[in-house]
């Protein structure tokens, strides 16, 4: 059966068909240049988003005249507004002609003794001269070397009890060639890539090299970076901002102030990458990750349960306090700069973060009754990556010269037209005839995926959002995968013969950034009839040999049961909608956009203000939160920071919860017009956290709120003052607003 999809059925798509006329391509290219000017002006601070809304630039009726002499949405001879964008150039490159690189593992250094200056509990406010190219800086000004807000409130909460034992360092830097690639696996397990060869900053070897300011990644290089940690071993991640001092040096999009969120890390808010705790070029920020199990102060505090444990270098385990049911495995870390997250993450400020435990050891051979022996490898006592592979899937777009391009069609979202895995255009990956674990991250801005194998054969979902499921779920098509969600999937390639190939396919079609327009059948997706260029096969597995040693990995019938949670203290309702109002106007903490959140049915839908406290659950309690999609036709993947939650119901019924969502999660797809009811606890640490849509265009356009843990003032003040970063230092101001139902 051939079934027409997308534009073939009359729907519009954001990218023009390759069959479009040259005249239409020219028109679309002009419109795209104009939109690029808008983004550039916005990122340079020459216009505000409020200006754009007032001028109608973000609507199809926009008529602002730009230097190209055309409206952002060029008047179209084809009566289609917006006109769509020209397809990204592929320079004659065919899919599956470049190997997919493994992540580049950041080195772990023993601490204390490695970092200089030594990390401190409170922010290091040693002064340094400031570069006058920074905005608001006069010659002779000085500012602190660390961008973390100063003082006791933003001091590392567990620094004395859990001082850092491992240091990991990375810079945020302009695109450059990697000469120190460390995949932690031999070349024959990395599709033949020679790690000693320079790794240029290209999305395919035959694509143009990215200009220094087209992409900003950790250390400025590809492949994307991986941090490996284990429970009970506190890590100090020193992140240095080496982006250009002049904010106009961004190749048209992205902003040079940054804040790194360790996505769903369980640690104090000072390490959470709060959207308002950003720092400037020339500064560093010390993130202290204690790497603890949630509930450590009340559950298994004496560390007597071996299931709550961490691997040792000798191949054993050491017990740690906390609830083993809260063991986490696959995180990622990314920029969370207020109102610029979409641009900065898209530009490359994203990496992944594997957490190892006694249960999820990263060694498949150790049989001690605790280790689940998931596919990984055997050479090292823990953290083997031989058969444990991180995949960052993302759609990208390129301008006519092949440089990374960020477009705005409207506030609905951004879609690329080129599928990448680990920043490489439709790569191949060589595998052995055995089981592999793939830690898959949706690293897109606005695109959802629904994944399948091209032969329709089964996969085993073992973790959702980095949390091992109570039981594995065998499936042939994943759930729709929202932005920032992680699916850990085991694929057994022993069913294939050497020389066979099988590909990963995306079944979810988009027409715009609102959310999926349609999930196609596997046959429809493979037919090539979709007008969405990202409905396609995008990663080819090539079965190249038998494993040198027998595959001893397992997928046990029981992984990690869900935690038993305490009594419910209260409920809250958050409704995510368009049509936000703005009740505060602080120039730093507020951001106006069409999206917003209403809390507890009071006060209307509010645009983002990181100075506003919308909720303040009490420390040590459990609450039931209902997340409601206030609109009909779009989707929102909602992320709640700090502790993962259990989904109790969808649309009011537990029956509607997918088996794939049966474990702990930190991103909740609301679905069009839907609601999700979750149970979440607030334990161990305090401070200010966030809740937001992870369609980062929605997030940046005001679908974000701040909540904080109310500990009745001990050890914090109540409510918390809001940090206001400047190059000269972080100031504090009182909250701009506290919702009546917050505390």
């Amino acid at each position: 059966m051939v079934r027409l999809t997308g534009a073939a059925r009359g729907g519009a798509t954001v990218y023009l068909s390759k069959k479009s006329s040259n005249a239409r391509f020219r028109e679309a290219e002009n419109a795209r240049k104009n939109r690029a000017e808008v983004i550039k002006a916005l990122s340079h601070g020459q216009v505000t988003r409020r200006d754009l809304i007032r001028l109608g630039l973000m609507t199809a009726a926009g008529s602002f005249v730009l230097t190209n002499g055309l409206s952002i949405y060029a008047s179209s001879a084809y009566a289609s507004i917006p006109t769509g964008a020209p397809p990204s150039p592929l320079f004659g490159v065919q899919p599956f002609t470049a190997p997919m690189p493994r992540f580049d593992v950041l080195a772990r250094h023993p601490e204390p003794g490695f970092l200089n200056p030594a990390p401190t509990a409170q922010a290091n406010t040693t002064q340094q001269p400031l570069n006058p190219a920074l905005e608001g800086v006069r010659p002779g000004d000085t500012g602190p070397i660390e961008g973390r807000p100063p003082g006791p409130i933003w001091a590392h909460q567990d620094f004395a009890a859990r001082p850092p034992r491992i240091a990991v360092v990375a810079s945020q830097a302009q695109a450059q060639t990697n000469t120190v690639y460390n995949p932690q696996v031999p070349s024959n397990l990395n599709s033949g890539i020679n790690p000693a060869a320079p790794f240029p900053f290209k999305f395919h070897p035959a694509f143009p090299t990215q200009a220094p300011n087209s992409c900003w990644t950790f250390n400025g290089t590809l492949p994307p970076k991986l941090i490996q940690v284990r429970y009970g071993e506190p890590v100090l991640f020193r992140h240095t901002n080496r982006l250009p001092f002049n904010k106009k040096q961004n190749n048209g999009f992205g902003i040079h102030t940054i804040s790194i969120h360790e996505h769903n890390g369980h640690h104090g808010a000072e390490n959470d990458g709060f959207t308002g705790a950003y720092f400037y070029p020339g500064q560093f920020y010390d993130y202290h990750y204690p790497v603890v199990l949630a509930g450590l102060r009340t559950i298994n505090p004496q560390a007597t349960d071996p299931r709550a444990s961490s691997p040792t270098d000798a191949g054993g385990i050491v017990n740690v306090p906390g609830d083993f049911h809260e063991t986490m495995s696959t995180h990622w870390f990314h920029d969370h700069m207020f109102s610029f997250t979409s641009q900065n993450v898209y530009k490359g400020i994203a990496g992944m973060f594997n957490i190892y435990s006694g249960l999820d050891r990263g060694n498949e051979a150790i049989n001690d009754g605790v280790n689940l022996r998931l596919p990984s490898g055997t050479a090292k006592p823990w953290g083997n990556l031989d058969y444990d592979v991180n995949l960052m899937i993302a759609d990208k777009a390129f301008d006519g010269t092949g440089q990374l391009f960020f477009d705005i069609f409207d506030f609905d979202g951004f879609l690329g037209d080129v599928m990448t895995v680990n920043f490489i255009f439709k790569p191949f990956f060589e595998v052995e005839r055995r089981k592999y674990r793939f830690r898959i991250l949706n690293g897109s801005v606005s695109r959802f995926f629904k994944l399948a194998l091209s032969d329709g054969s089964p996969m085993i979902l073992i973790a959702n959002d980095g949390n091992l499921m109570p039981s594995p779920v065998v499936l042939t098509e994943t759930d729709e995968m929202g932005i920032a969600e992680r699916f850990d999937i085991v694929i057994d390639f022993s069913r294939y013969a050497i020389g066979q190939k099988v590909r990963m396919v995306n079944l979810t079609e988009h027409e715009d950034g609102k959310g999926p327009s349609e999930d196609l059948s596997l046959a429809e997706a493979l037919s090539g009839n979709s007008q969405d260029p990202c409905v396609c096969t995008f990663l080819e597995f090539r079965v190249v040999r038998d494993p040198a040693t027998p595959d001893v990995s397992q997928v046990p019938a029981t992984l990690i049961p869900n935690p038993v949670q305490g009594p419910v203290a209260r409920t809250r309702l958050f409704e995510f909608s368009r049509g936000a109002g703005q009740t505060t106007n602080d120039p730093v903490t507020t951001f106006f956009g069409p999206w917003g959140i209403e809390t507890d049915n009071r006060g209307g839908t509010l645009a983002a203000d990181f100075g506003r406290i919308s909720a303040a659950p009490k420390a040590g309690t459990r609450e039931i939160w209902t997340l409601k999609n206030g609109g009909g036709g779009w989707d929102h993947p909602i992320h709640i920071h700090f502790e993962e939650a259990l989904i109790l119901a969808r649309d009011g019924s537990a029956r509607n919860v997918s088996p794939s969502e049966g474990g702990r999660k930190d991103v909740f797809r609301l679905r069009p017009g839907g609601t999700v009811t979750v149970s979440i606890q607030f334990r161990d640490y305090g401070g200010m956290f966030m809740e937001h849509c992870h369609n980062t265009v929605h997030e940046d356009n005001a679908m974000l709120l701040r909540w904080e843990i109310d500990d009745n003032g001990a050890p914090f003040v109540r409510p918390l003052p809001t940090p206001i970063p400047t190059p000269q230092g972080v100031k504090f101001e009182a909250p701009t607003d506290i919702l009546s139902t917050a505390f």
Partner: protein
Amino acid sequence: MKTAHWLVPAVLSLSLGFAPAAHAQTASKTVPIAGIVSGQPESVVFGGAARIEVTEAVDNVSGSPPRMVVSITLLGMSGRGSSTGATYVLSGQTTLTRRLVANDVVEVTFPFSVLGSAAVAVTQTAVASFSFSYDATSNKIVSANASIAALNLPAAN
């Protein structure tokens, strides 16, 4: 999930200050589903039921084409191997976003295996086809039928 499902209504009814959010109306229909999944090592004759649920999602802001959320749940599907007589099970639940149309055909793949197989031993796939008519005015699934067969795919492009 350790949180017992019977607790959910109780938890939700705590409602400290507000009622649970209103939900879009869902139309539901349960239909028989049967078919032969031919293939190796043996063909399997399946029978059972499937519940189709349609929830309309109208974009009330932008005027975009409305969509519907279609949920498919296989209920009590079992099969018998044509040569061994072994019992096979096929279960699953999937939720799809679809454009709102009066008549839709949805194809979904599901894994199946011999009863009692471990997760790693599940290697076979069937495709279930659902054809249904949805009346948005009355919010009803007017008619529906379903079948199951072996997967027959075009070459990957």
